[in-house]
């Protein structure tokens, strides 16, 4: 799996509540792709998110390949996520009132 393929796979993981993918939301802080392991460092919009398990499962499924590298997910809360990390199309989709 290449890094581009991994990013494309992550972009298919949508936060179901917001309807925007986790890459556009800026939830993915880091991605390391190797032959044995794919490591994702990520966060969520808030601690105690009701859809925590759903999103983590989604990341795992998106990156899993039969016979492919192991998937490691590191969930971090520092630095805390901020809505300024959302991309412009995500902000428009959310109806962000600060988007002009």
């Amino acid at each position: 799996m290449t890094e581009d393929e991994a990013w494309a796979a992550l972009a298919r993981v949508v936060d179901p509540e917001l309807g925007v993918d986790i890459v556009e939301l800026g939830l993915v802080y880091g991605l390391e792709v190797g032959p044995e392991r794919v490591k994702v460092t990520m966060t969520l919009t808030s601690q105690g998110c009701p859809l925590h398990g759903v999103i983590v499962d989604g990341v795992e499924r998106a990156l899993e390949r039969p016979g492919g590298p192991d998937v490691e997910i590191e969930m971090v809360w520092d630095p805390p996520w901020d809505p300024d990390r959302i991309g412009s199309s995500g902000r428009r989709a959310l109806g962000d009132p600060t988007t002009t």
């Binding site: 949508v14 179901p16 859809l51 499924r61 969930m75 809505p83 009132p97 600060t98």
Partner: protein, 446 residues
């Protein structure tokens, strides 16, 4: 803070093992559907009682049916159903297994309906059966909550919202104890206290302590989360919750013994709490980074209405208004304006989330699932707010001003608003929205 876990295919990460969820989605969804139906019944009973309430007849059978359908069969059942799903998220501790939880919420819901029917018809058997079921179910789920909250406190995951839920659970037990005594006293009188004072104190603990306290505690956590409102002022919310709960003992005790200064102190604290809660909610609105939806609209409306009720109660306690004329509009403002409104708004959000998680979570990451927004019944949510707001205003104005037809018109609008909620819940639970896109890979077994 970080949690690290290795995630090989088919294995669970440490992080996922730590994530605590609620019972299967069908249980809270079923409770919320039943609760929304009870709201329709309560609103119909309110329409029947509206003219009497406007004419000052407050202790009729329709009024008792209204209070218990709204307070127990709708609000308490909905709050408990939502708590089964939300409390594990808020405090990161499981609450109860599916079967004990199902038994407890069934007891509260069914008992609430039976109790309301008994109070409406005067059937002692129904009152006894309904009261027993409500007290047993409520005490059971209260015990589950206390156990989970205790674990959260020990684990350091309680937080301000968890503390608020703990306080609200305490008020639930007080309400159940008072209600049990009052139901028994109705069958075989043994309490020397004036009945109206007992009702007022019971209503204060139920509406301000249990229902209002829960709403404020949950809003502290979910308001900013759902609105993506980072950077909002937090302190007003925490202080609002503290003042809100501090207002309950003086209010209830003052109403019970007829002590005006105590009632005034409680009403003053509640007024301050409402102002702080409104400050917090407006802060969330100002910092939100997405469209405002029904839950936040109802939270603003409910907090403002509760504030108005608190001010009216304060003026009555200080002698500026007639307490007997103020009591019913204040109770309706808290029960319908705050309780029913905020709970209805929340149902539009929590039911789609429950259903999506139950039906489509296994498709996350591989495609084929509809967006959660596709389940959110936006037109019904808009219609509900559009009917509820003028309906509430007309009801309160009609009852406060003694205008029967206006109170009736308001109650009928509330029936229509409640129907919107039921239809929305049914659409979400029974509907099968078309997937957003074809699955990218075959879905594993759910």
């Amino acid at each position: 803070m970080s949690a690290r876990g290795r995630c090989t295919p088919g294995a669970r990460t440490l992080e996922r093992q730590r994530a605590v969820g609620g019972p299967p989605w069908a249980l809270p969804s079923g409770a919320l559907l039943a609760a929304s139906m009870a709201q329709v019944a309560g609103a119909i009973a309110l329409a029947v009682a509206a003219r009497d309430l406007a004419s000052g007849a407050v202790y009729g059978s329709a009024s008792l049916v209204t209070a218990h359908l709204y307070g127990l069969a709708f609000l308490t059942l909905a709050i408990l159903g939502a708590m089964l799903q939300l409390v594990p998220v808020v405090i990161r501790q499981s609450v109860a297994g599916p079967w004990p939880a199902a038994g407890a919420v069934t007891g509260v819901g069914l008992g609430g309906v039976l109790l309301a029917a008994g109070l409406g018809t005067g059937a002692a058997g129904l009152i006894a059966a309904g009261g027993t079921l409500v007290v047993a179910g409520g005490a059971l789920i209260g015990a589950f909550l206390v156990r989970a909250l205790w674990r959260a406190w020990r684990a350091g995951t309680l937080g301000a919202a968890g503390a608020g839920i703990a306080l609200a659970t305490t008020w639930l037990w007080v309400v159940l104890a008072m209600g049990g005594l009052m139901a028994a006293n109705r069958v075989e009188p043994f309490l020397a206290t004036d009945r109206l004072r007992l009702i007022a104190a019971h209503a204060a603990v139920a509406l301000v302590g249990w229902i209002g306290g829960t709403i404020v505690a949950v809003a502290l956590k979910l308001g900013p989360m759902l609105a993506l409102a980072h950077g909002h002022p937090v302190a007003p919310g925490t202080w609002a919750m503290a003042c809100w709960n501090a207002s309950v003992p003086p209010l209830a005790l003052g109403l019970l013994v007829g002590a005006g200064p105590l009632v005034a102190a409680g009403a003053a604290l509640l007024t301050i709490a409402c102002a702080l809660a409104l400050w917090f909610t407006i802060g969330v609105l100002r910092h939100r980074r997405r469209r405002a939806e029904a839950p936040i609209a109802h939270l603003v409306l409910g907090t403002a209405v509760a504030g108005g009720a608190a001010v009216a109660g304060l003026l009555a306690a200080l002698g500026a208004l007639d307490p007997l004329e103020v009591a019913v509009p204040v109770a309706l403002a808290l029960m319908v304006g705050l309780g029913a409104g905020v709970t209805s708004g929340h149902l539009f959000k929590v039911v789609p989330m429950l259903v999506w998680t139950g039906r489509y979570a296994h498709l996350a990451g591989i495609g084929g699932a509809p967006k959660l927004a596709d389940l959110y019944p936006a037109p019904l949510a808009t219609a509900e707010v559009a009917l509820f707001t003028p309906g509430l205003a007309a009801l309160l104005a009609g009852v406060a001003g003694g205008v029967g037809w206006l109170a009736l018109a308001g109650a009928l609008a509330l029936v229509a608003a409640a129907l919107c909620v039921v239809v929305a819940v049914l659409v979400v639970v029974a509907g099968r929205p078309r997937p957003a896109a074809a699955p990218l890979r075959p879905a594993p077994a759910a």
